[in-house]
Point group: C2
Chain length 389, copies 2
C-alpha cells in the first residue's frame, strides 16, 4: 500500500424524505442561492420540497445550469451572488449543477495575481483556490460522485475547452441523497450513471497490485453491487432498495476512499473526453467504448488485477489466464450493453475515420502518455480506439 492522506468532510444525509433536513443544516441567517438546471426539479417535486424546507430563510434562485456546465453560466451566477450578498450555495440537481456550483463557490472571491485574473484561471492556469462559499447539495442523479468530493469539470463555451479543477475547499458541507428523487430520471441517465460509476471504480482498481487489500475488496464490492443492481434498476425502476444501493454505490465510487494508497489509471476518461468533444457522445457512452478495449490492449500491464477482477467480480474459474482475461473483458462489455450503453463506435453509428483526429486532440490536451504506468502513448491509444470501432 502506498502512503496516503484521506479527508472527506462532507456530511451525507441519506434516505427518503431527507430533503427537509436542510432546514437544520443551513445556518439560520444564511443568504442562500439555490442553483439548478433546466427545471426538471420543478416537475418531479424536488423543487417544492426544497422551498418548503427553506421556509423562513432568505433565498434566491439561479437556474439554467446546462449539462457539461459552461463557465459563462458560472460567471452569471457569481454576478448575482455579489449583487445579493449570498453566503451559502444550495446545489439541487445532478453532477453538472454541483460541478458548476463548485466553480461558482470558488470564483466569488477569486482574486488571482494579475489585474485581468478571472475564475477561469483556476481551470486553465491552475490558479489556487484560496476561499469558497459553503455548498450544500441535494443530489438527483447518482453518477459522478461530485456530491462528496472536491472535483469539478467545466466547459468554456467560447473556446470549447473542457477542463477540471479540484480543491479541498469545494467539498459540499452536506449532501442529501434521497433515492426517490431519482425515480423520474430518463432511462438513459440511469444507465449512464451506472456505467459512469462502474468506470470510476475501475480507474482506481484495475491497475497493478500494491497489496492494498481493503481498497481492493471495497472496489470489488462496489462493482458487484452495480452488476447486481444495474440491470434491476432498469427492470424495476420504482424499487426503492435498488435505487438506494445504486445511489450509495455511485457516491462511494468516487469519494476518494477506494483510491487511497493505490495507483490510478484514468486513461479511459481522458480518451473518452475526446469522443464527447468530437462526437457529442454522453460521457458514460465514451467510457463504455474505451474501457473494454483498453483492458484488452493493456492486458500485460494489468495482468494481475485483470485476473483478480475476473475471479472475484465475475466468478470466473478458467485455468488458462488469457482465457480468463478474455472472459472478464467480455463480461464487462456485456454488462455495459445490458445497461443499454453500446461499447463500439458502430453502436453509435460512427466509424473509425475520426480516430486519427481524436488521437491528435488527445495528445494536444495531454502531452504525456496516460495510464498508471504512463505507457498509453498516441500509438497505443490509436490501437485502443481502432479495436473499439
Amino acid at each position: 500500500m502506498n502512503n496516503f492522506s484521506f479527508h472527506n468532510p462532507t456530511k451525507i444525509v441519506f434516505g427518503e424524505g431527507q430533503i427537509s433536513a436542510i432546514a437544520d443544516l443551513i445556518p439560520a441567517n444564511a443568504r442562500i442561492l439555490i442553483t439548478y438546471g433546466g427545471g426538471s426539479i420543478k416537475k418531479n417535486g424536488v423543487y417544492d420540497q426544497v422551498i418548503k424546507a427553506l421556509e423562513g430563510k432568505t433565498f434566491f434562485e439561479f437556474s439554467g445550469i446546462e449539462p457539461n456546465p459552461h463557465y459563462e453560466t458560472c460567471e452569471k451566477a457569481i454576478a448575482l451572488i455579489k449583487e445579493k450578498n449570498i453566503d451559502f450555495l444550495l446545489a439541487v440537481g445532478g453532477g453538472s449543477v454541483v460541478d458548476a456550483t463548485k466553480l461558482i463557490a470558488a470564483g466569488v472571491n477569486f482574486k488571482g495575481e494579475t489585474p485581468d485574473a478571472e475564475p477561469w484561471d483556476i481551470l486553465a492556469k491552475g490558479a489556487p483556490v484560496t476561499s469558497a462559499l459553503p455548498i450544500g447539495c441535494i443530489l438527483t442523479l447518482p453518477a459522478t460522485g461530485t456530491e462528496s468530493n472536491g472535483n469539478s469539470v467545466i466547459t468554456k463555451a467560447a473556446t470549447h475547452e473542457k477542463l477540471a479543477f479540484g480543491s479541498p475547499l469545494v467539498y459540499p458541507v452536506f449532501s442529501i441523497l434521497d433515492p426517490t428523487t431519482t425515480y423520474s430520471l430518463p432511462t438513459r441517465q440511469i444507465s449512464n450513471g451506472v456505467v459512469d460509476a462502474f468506470v470510476h471504480i475501475m480507474e482506481q482498481y484495475l491497475t497493478y497490485p500494491v497489496d492494498a487489500k481493503v481498497q481492493d475488496r471495497f472496489a470489488e464490492g462496489l462493482l458487484l453491487t452495480l452488476i447486481e443492481e444495474g440491470p434491476k434498476v432498469l427492470a424495476q425502476p420504482n424499487d426503492y432498495a435498488i435505487r438506494a444501493n445504486v445511489m450509495w454505490a455511485a457516491t462511494m465510487a468516487l469519494n476518494g476512499l477506494i483510491g487511497v494508497g493505490v495507483p490510478q489509471d484514468w486513461a479511459t476518461h481522458m480518451i473518452g473526453h475526446e469522443l464527447t468533444a468530437m462526437h457529442g457522445l454522453d460521457h458514460a457512452q465514451t467510457l463504455a467504448i474505451v474501457l473494454p478495449s483498453l483492458m484488452n490492449q493493456q492486458r500485460e500491464q494489468k495482468r494481475g488485477k485483470l485476473i483478480q477482477y475476473g475471479k472475484r467480480v465475475w466468478n470466473l474459474t478458467n485455468s488458462n489466464e488469457d482465457e480468463l482475461i478474455d472472459a472478464a473483458i467480455a463480461a464487462t462489455k456485456n454488462f455495459f450493453e445490458q445497461m443499454g450503453v453500446p461499447t463500439t463506435f458502430k453502436g453509435y453509428g460512427l466509424d473509425s475515420s475520426s480516430i486519427p483526429a481524436l488521437v491528435d486532440n488527445l495528445v494536444r490536451h495531454n502531452p504525456n502518455p496516460l495510464g498508471e504506468k504512463a505507457d498509453i502513448t498516441a500509438e497505443v491509444t490509436k490501437k485502443i480506439l481502432l479495436a473499439a470501432a
Copy 2:
C-alpha cells in the same frame, strides 16, 4: 437500507514516516499537550519522532494513561491543561490513550448545569458535550477504531464503573497511522486487535438483511482482509504490507461507514464487558468467548445473514443451511483460536460458576434486552455463556 447520516471529519495520514506530518497539521502557535501511556513510545522510537516533528512548537507532556483509562487520570490532565493554557491535544498511543484524550478534551471546558457538575457526568448522566479541545492522534495499536470516531470508554477507578460516551466534537482532527509503529507490539496485543476489529465488523453486519449491498460487501471485505492478514501478521510480524492492511482494516471497521443504514447488534460487547469487569480478561478475549456462542444461540434471528456470511466470507457451499451455519460458526471460532485467542471460559482457566453473577451484573447495567431485535434477555445470555463455558 435504513435512512442515515454519515459524517466523519477525521483526516487520515497513512504510511511509514508520516509522523513528521504533524508539523504541518498542528497550528503553529498551538500550546500542545502530548498525552501518552506507560512509556512504550519511548522504547520504540515513536516519542523521539514526535518530539522531532514538534521542534519549534510549544508543548507539554502528560504520561501515565493506563489501559482501561481512569477518569481520575483524565482529571489530572485537565488540571494541567488549565494550568498551562493548553489548546491542542496530541494523543500518542493505542485506544486507551485516545479514549482518555477524548474525555480530557471534552472535560476541560465542561460546565454542566449544577454547581457540583463534573466531566464524569458526560458518561454517568449523559450530560451533553458542548465544546472540546481539538485532538490530533498518532495511533500505535490498530484495534478499536477510536482514531476515527467520536466514541470513548472510561473507567472510574473509585467505583469500578466503566462507561462510554460519544460526541461529534471529539473526532480527532487528524490521525497518523504509521504501520511501522506497530512492529514492537506484543503478540497478544496484535492478536487482540485483530479479534477486536473482527467483532466490531460482525456487530454491524451479522444482524438481519435490509438489502444494504454496499455496506454488506464492505463488511465482508474487511472480514476477508482480517482473515487473510491476521494469521500472517503473527507469522511475519515485520512485514509492512500485512501490518498496513491490518491497521487500515481496523480503522475502517469502526469509523461509522459500514454501520450506516443497517441494524446493529453490540450484545457481544455488552456481555463481554461483564467478563472483563469480573475476571479481568482482555476485551478481545471476552469477545472471542461470546461471539461464536451468540451466533449459535441467535441462529434463527440471524439466519439470513449467517448464511450470507458463511458463503461469502468462508466460501462455504453446504446445501443444508444449518450445516452451513454450523460450519461458519466453527470457522469463526477456529479463526480466533488461530489468532491465539481462546474462545471458551475453559481456555482462560475459568469455569461456569460465575455465570449467574455475570448475568446479574449485565442486567443491572443493561436493564433492557440486548441485540438488534432486543431479544437477548438475561435467560438467553445465560444460555450463551453456558454454551461457551
